[in-house]
């Protein structure tokens, strides 16, 4: 087989960032900043070129053949076992890569937006310590994310999934000397663990039920197993995988880590917590669409969670004062839209919104970073204002991004958001109404941000006011490019109803395992074209109303904002404190975990250490005391008794041996006399 060059070498795409990441983390300390910039940005640039090459070579293939895979080497060899469905399956995973329209789009987003953010970072991080560390982590993240989207089986995907989680943790806690940053990193990591546990269980169940974890074999396995829609085992897989997605993509109930993740440097927020990593959950759900399409109940769960998250996060975004926190809640809200799209079966629309969101939300974060940079680190919007004239490039790009996210025609956000809303409307009116309401709130809080930051009179502190400056070129060029994409990115899928051809959507369609009947129905287009037009007009009207309201409250009658806050004091407090969900989780889980830890600690001290270790020590001491007693009185006693006996009986002998030589002499003399006397006696008696 002779695959085109780039398709045969997709495995190189993650490899380039990995090489520079390894170099940075091993030897980066000794490298000069310009060298680091060239190496790290260069490796991402090469990856981007390979991605573009792969994309175009994929495009040149016939539609039904648009999938290429590359098997590098075996990881886990085939282990045969009986699946839950009773067939013979095998557990097998290899370091294999797969590119199809879905992953092609993902690698373009990841490397493209990633490249721009890398360039931006060279300016933003120029005066920060740990330059090499930052870029090392960033490149490690690029590697992991590319593994995630290019892996051809769930296990390789999971490796990337965990890799991006780790890099997210490392980069949120980049300013690790600040306790809040370190805590935020830990929080993100722990909350993600909860989701990852679900994901991992989902993988196990997939393998146990279908006997494979390779994406291109799951579909055939589902067909071969003759699984019916609504099969509870499929439902379980879908829900478990979705638990993983809620963790990574910050959906209810696991969204709490994302706002705190804003402690990381702003380029990190842009790359990881807006454009790429948090969308991994959406990608995964879209990738596993064949499972979800067989589990309508799970689809409903996804849609409802997505819609609720969208509305709920938007409501919190309305009252935040920290410029990055507003964007964080906005990200959660937009991710909700993507899941809403997936939940109503419009996976392609979800991915489309994922792409446009990567453009405009990446841009929003980078522009916010530029504002923060200009204001010497100020993030509180109450201390901004009137910046439009002072940093014009940042202002214009931010305005474009805000128009895009609000969904003003013909910006990118309009195309993707209205596609999602119209698809939702076809399915369920109530979900649509939630999404519709959210669109209005999005417009309101985004323009609240714009008006508070760039309009009105300046509330900047005297010291910071003095230092306001437009950011360097390395930061502005990515802003301008992303602004262009935020305008034009949506045109890739100009709606058919407005004379377009939805090219992007059709490009993605082969990936989605929609049953033929449904696809044919989809090809006929929505039921009523005029209906779709009305929906668009309706949402445009609401968005304009939201922008007008923001203008009215924050520009025209400034005092109104505080009056409203006071008028709805209780409600305002509730939303301002994020519905006290952090406190609730603290009370329900964190403190309970702490209690469990304390209980286990006390069990350890009292039972293990107390009864076990100290008890054993006490027993040993007791036994040894017994043994000492036995030794002293019985063993030694018998020895001493022997010596005492000898002592007693040796008394007469001791009396003789007194060490005085003259006594010995006397004994000798007496003995001699005795001997002589005996002989004389003998001689005498012999004579007689």
């Amino acid at each position: 087989m002779n695959a085109p060059y780039f398709l045969d070498h997709i495995w190189l795409i993650p490899l380039f960032p990995l090489l520079t990441a390894g170099l940075m983390l091993l030897a980066g300390r000794r490298l000069k900043n310009p060298v680091i910039s060239v190496l790290c940005v260069g490796s991402v640039f090469v990856s981007f070129l390979y991605s573009v090459g792969a994309f175009f070579q994929l495009l040149s293939l016939p539609v039904e053949d648009r999938v290429a895979s590359k098997h590098l080497f075996d990881w886990i060899p085939a282990i045969p076992f009986h699946t839950l469905a009773g067939t013979l399956g095998q557990f097998r995973a290899d370091w294999g890569f797969q590119i199809d329209p879905l992953s092609a789009v993902m690698i373009l987003i990841v490397t493209g937006v990633g490249l721009l953010i890398h360039v931006y970072s060279t300016g933003y991080m120029a005066h920060e310590g740990g330059y090499y560390r930052f870029f090392g982590y960033l490149n490690l993240f690029m590697f992991s994310m590319l593994m995630l989207v290019l892996g051809n089986n769930l296990l390789v995907m999971f490796v990337g999934w965990e890799g991006v989680g780790t890099c997210s943790y490392l980069l949120i806690g980049f300013y690790f000397r600040r306790k809040s940053a370190a805590d935020a990193g830990k929080k993100a990591f722990v909350v993600n663990r909860v989701g990852d546990a679900g994901f991992l269980l989902g993988i196990f169940l997939t393998s146990a039920l279908l006997g494979t974890i390779h994406f291109n074999e799951i579909g055939p396995a589902l067909a071969a197993g003759n699984f019916q829609a609504g099969d509870p085992r499929i439902l379980a897989i879908a829900l478990l995988l979705f638990v993983g997605a809620t963790g990574k993509s910050a959906q209810i109930p696991l969204y709490v880590w994302l706002p705190d993740a804003m402690e990381g440097p702003t380029p990190v927020s842009a790359l990881i917590h807006a454009a790429t990593m948090v969308t991994a959950g959406v990608y995964m759900v879209a990738r596993m669409n064949m499972i979800y399409l067989l589990a309508p109940a799970a689809m409903s769960v996804v849609a409802v969670i997505g819609a609720c998250t969208a509305l709920y996060a938007a409501s919190m975004g309305v009252v935040q004062n920290d410029i990055k926190k507003v964007l964080a809640y906005s990200t959660i809200s937009q991710l909700g839209y993507m899941f809403l799209a997936c939940g109503v079966g419009a996976f392609t629309a979800g991915i489309f919104h994922l792409m446009t969101h990567a453009f405009f939300k990446g841009l929003l974060f980078l522009a916010a970073g530029s504002v923060i940079h200009a204001l010497s680190g100020e993030q509180d919007m109450r201390k901004m204002g009137g910046l439009a004239k002072k940093i014009p490039v940042t202002y214009w790009t931010m305005l474009i991004a805000s128009l895009a996210i609000a969904g003003i025609f013909p910006f990118a956000g309009f195309m993707s958001k209205d596609l999602i809303l119209s698809k939702t409307y076809e399915k369920d009116f109530w979900l649509w109404s939630i999404g519709y309401l959210t669109a209005g709130m999005t417009a309101f809080y985004m323009f609240r941000l714009v008006f508070m930051t760039f309009y009105g009179h300046s509330r900047v502190g005297h010291e910071a006011e003095h230092h306001i400056h437009e950011s360097p070129k390395s930061m502005l060029i990515p802003l301008v490019i992303l602004a262009a994409l935020s305008v034009a990115g949506g045109w890739l899928s100009w709606p058919e109803i407005l004379g377009g051809n939805s090219r992007f959507i059709h490009f993605l369609e082969p990936v989605i395992a929609v049953p033929h009947a449904l696809r044919a129905e989809a090809a006929r287009g929505p039921g009523s074209q005029t209906g779709e037009i009305y929906l668009m007009l309706l949402s445009e009207a609401l968005v304009l109303a939201g922008i007008f309201l923001a203008w009215y409250v924050y520009i025209k009658r400034r005092e109104l904002a505080e009056r409203l806050a006071r008028a709805f004091g209780g409600l305002y407090d509730l939303v301002y404190h994020k519905y006290y969900v952090d406190e609730l989780y603290d009370a329900l889980f964190v403190n309970r975990a702490e209690d469990l830890g304390l209980a286990l600690g006390s069990f350890d001290t009292n039972i293990i250490d107390g009864l076990g270790v100290n008890g054993a020590a006490w027993l040993t001491r007791f036994v040894s005391r017994l043994s000492i007693w036995w030794d002293t009185w019985i063993v030694d006693g018998s020895v001493r008794l022997g010596s005492r006996i000898v002592w007693v009986f040796s008394w007469p002998v001791r009396m003789i041996q007194d060490g005085l030589v003259q006594n010995y002499m006397l004994v000798i003399v007496i003995g001699l006399i005795g001997v002589l006397a005996y002989y004389f006696h003998l001689a005498h008696s012999m004579v007689h």
Binding site: S650, V653, R654, Q657, D658, G659, L660, V661, Q662, M665, L666, V669
Partner: protein
């Protein structure tokens, strides 16, 4: 020629004086001198019997004993000197370390 009994009596007297000296005197040097007396008593005995029997054996033995006595005196005095250096005494009843 004097009868042998006279010699034996002298010898016996000297021997007895020597033994009493060894047993009663505290000074080790005096004890050594008493031992010399005992040896000489033996010598007198040997010489007397040698003459009595008309052989020369006893006289040869006497010469040996005199040599022996000289050596013994040298060694004995050496020991006493060494002992005195260690203990600052030459009294026998203070030399009682060699007991149980």
């Amino acid at each position: 020629m004097l009868p042998i009994g006279n010699y034996l009596f002298l010898s016996f007297t000297l021997f007895t004086i020597g033994v009493i000296g060894v047993l009663t005197r505290r000074n080790v040097i005096v004890m050594l001198m008493s031992i010399e007396l005992i040896l000489n008593a033996v010598n007198i005995n040997l010489v007397a019997f040698s003459r009595y029997w008309g052989t020369v054996d006893g006289q040869v033995f006497a010469i040996f004993i005199i040599t022996d006595a000289a050596a013994e005196a040298a060694v004995g005095l050496g020991i006493i000197l060494a002992f005195f250096r260690n203990r600052q005494t030459v009294l026998a009843d203070e030399m009682d370390m060699l007991r149980w």
